[in-house]
Symmetry: C2
Subunit: 359 residues, 2 copies
């Protein structure tokens, strides 16, 4: 259970409604400062944002800031984007492994452990890197990038952190018997299925506003309350149809079994899932983080107003600690109290959640 004192900063809102309307599309409400960055005696920078914790019935168990404004979940949407891959039967048809499901949910670091698995998976469904709609970018894993520069190898769309998700979309297209080409278009059956799954899990009605994600596929906007509810549905599948419940359970089990594939060496998502059993977490660009807490049956969704990943990392770790999900020090504590270092690696400041926000 969430502790009662978990409400400082904003009162918990218990919303029995299944719609979060009006969905505000402009940040008119001022969200509170959630994370501070100190340097010496001063607070140098601050990050505002909002957090929603929901159960699967859409009851908000905690709300700080404006949780009804439309936000883009970005890559935090990936666990939900993977649900139709399984629910449709495509994953079974192509005998996807848990590793491959984890990669479909990943913002991976472009390490060989990621790219070799995705390339092999593509070959199995009769596709290749040439079918990927996403563009190339430098691998997030710096030693991999350095090794590639040394050997003269160029990064390709396979190194794009979203290439596993895209391969999941291509697999879903194959399973549906529709063309792979154009899978990134919003009116392609793959994306129609993603939007329908999202709206049903979030308990909202579509069509949803959408924008083009960094990797070229549609990213559907919804409220943090809706996103947290959708994540809660993945944690607590009792109200879902059996086939969807099975799909949701497989997504979470795959992420939990292969945290190193969901992100990569040293990355916060990987470290948090390695440390904390029973949870799945996923970051998204522009300061988004979600957590799926099976023990509590809760979903967490947060966004930093200004899009800063450093603040989102600090905040999700602090929320997991405050919710009692973290039982020992380790990655979560390190993230929640990350030092600010100078170029001689001496601590000169600290990241921290604002005093009394979460307790």
């Amino acid at each position: 259970m969430v502790r009662q004192t978990f409400t400082i900063g904003a009162s918990p809102v218990h919303s029995p409604t299944t719609h979060y309307s009006p969905l505000t599309t402009h940040p008119s409400m001022t969200n509170p400062v959630l994370v501070e960055i100190t340097r010496g005696p001063l607070i140098e920078s601050v990050h505002r944002g909002a957090i929603a914790v929901s159960d699967a019935k859409g009851r908000l168990r905690m709300a700080i800031g404006d949780v009804h404004r439309a936000i883009f979940p970005r890559s935090a949407l990936k666990p939900i984007q993977a649900v139709p891959l399984i629910e449709s039967g495509a994953a079974e048809k192509f005998a996807l492994s848990d590793e491959e499901i984890a990669l479909a949910c990943a913002s991976h670091s472009g390490e060989p452990q990621h790219t070799t698995r995705i390339a092999a998976w593509q070959a199995r469904i009769g596709c290749s890197v040439a079918d990927l709609a996403c563009g190339p970018h430098r691998p997030l894993h710096e030693p991999t990038a350095t090794a590639m520069i040394r050997s003269g190898e160029r990064w390709t769309p396979l190194h794009n952190n979203c290439s596993g998700k895209h391969t999941g979309f291509m697999t879903l297209a194959r399973g549906l018997g529709v063309p792979v080409e154009g899978y990134q278009q919003v009116d392609h059956p793959v994306q129609r299925l993603v939007e329908a799954t999202l709206t049903e899990l979030a308990g909202i009605s579509g069509p949803l506003p959408w924008g083009v994600d960094g990797c070229t596929v549609p990213n559907f906007a919804l409220s943090l309350a809706g996103l947290a509810r959708a994540m809660a549905a993945l944690a607590d599948t009792r109200d879902l149809t059996p086939s969807r419940a099975d799909a949701c359970k497989r997504v979470i089990a795959s992420m939990k079994s292969h945290p190193e594939l969901v992100a990569g060496t040293g990355r916060p998502c990987t470290q948090l899932m390695q440390q904390v059993p029973g949870i799945a977490v996923k970051t998204g660009a522009e300061g988004v983080y979600i957590a799926i807490l099976q023990d509590l049956g809760f979903g967490v969704a947060l966004k930093i107003d200004n899009g800063a990943g450093r603040a989102a990392e600090t905040l999700i770790a602090s929320v997991l600690i405050a919710l009692g999900a973290v039982r020992d020090e380790g990655a979560a504590y390190a993230l929640a109290h990350a030092p600010v270092l100078n170029t001689r690696n001496v601590q000169v400041g600290q990241r921290r959640v604002v005093a009394n926000l979460l307790r």
Copy 2:
């Protein structure tokens, strides 16, 4: 002159006082949203902050947000940190070139054009990379970093973007006849002189709060109003002693003559100074930017609350345009309206200053 309509968002405050007290040290006032990042139909992220435009007498010509709170100028302090190097006679004693003065004011990209000049300068004062207190980091110029990786070369403190500033400090120590070692300590004569120069130019009294900068030297905190006034003093030197006025003029002339040395290839500071004659600009970490406008006799200082460089770049370009300093499209317009691109280099959103803020 600043246009009258330049006041939307906050009324201009004409402050004849020379002290900005009380100097607030906690962000209790909520600064307005200044920069928005859009994606598709939505505003995805927002950046709050404050802007001060001052003349050399400390009269605020524009103030948006809390311009009295203490902030760290970070590398935007460099033009002022270079003043005692010249005023003390050290620059003359060691026959520093305008290029070397520009490098003392630089957050350079670690390109050969920067590091070779700084290494030669160090040799001339009997110092070397081993005397630098700053730590090593990857050159900001990616092709330089890539070439170094290919050739197996390691980055050293010379590649630290602050190595020119540090070499200026070492030159100042030599000029003062004090030990170079320990120049990064707050009680070293070099840093005492920096703080005294800053307080005098800003029209405030010390001692100032300070923290350790990324490059290990003290960074002194003051208000944006004070920082803008200090920059105005560099633009309009009429009230300074002749030796300080000459030093300030030489700093600005050096920056303007060598914009490629103050930052580097493709960097905003370099591009803005190349495009706009008569101005000097300097970025600082954690969302700081300053501008020195000699034609108007104004100093500009801004900080983004959350420390985002993308927002600071967009905002300084927009302020320069609004102040009439930019006479043609080019780098300033490109920065003020920077597109958000996906990994296929297709525009999916935009950075922009909030409507009606500056006009």
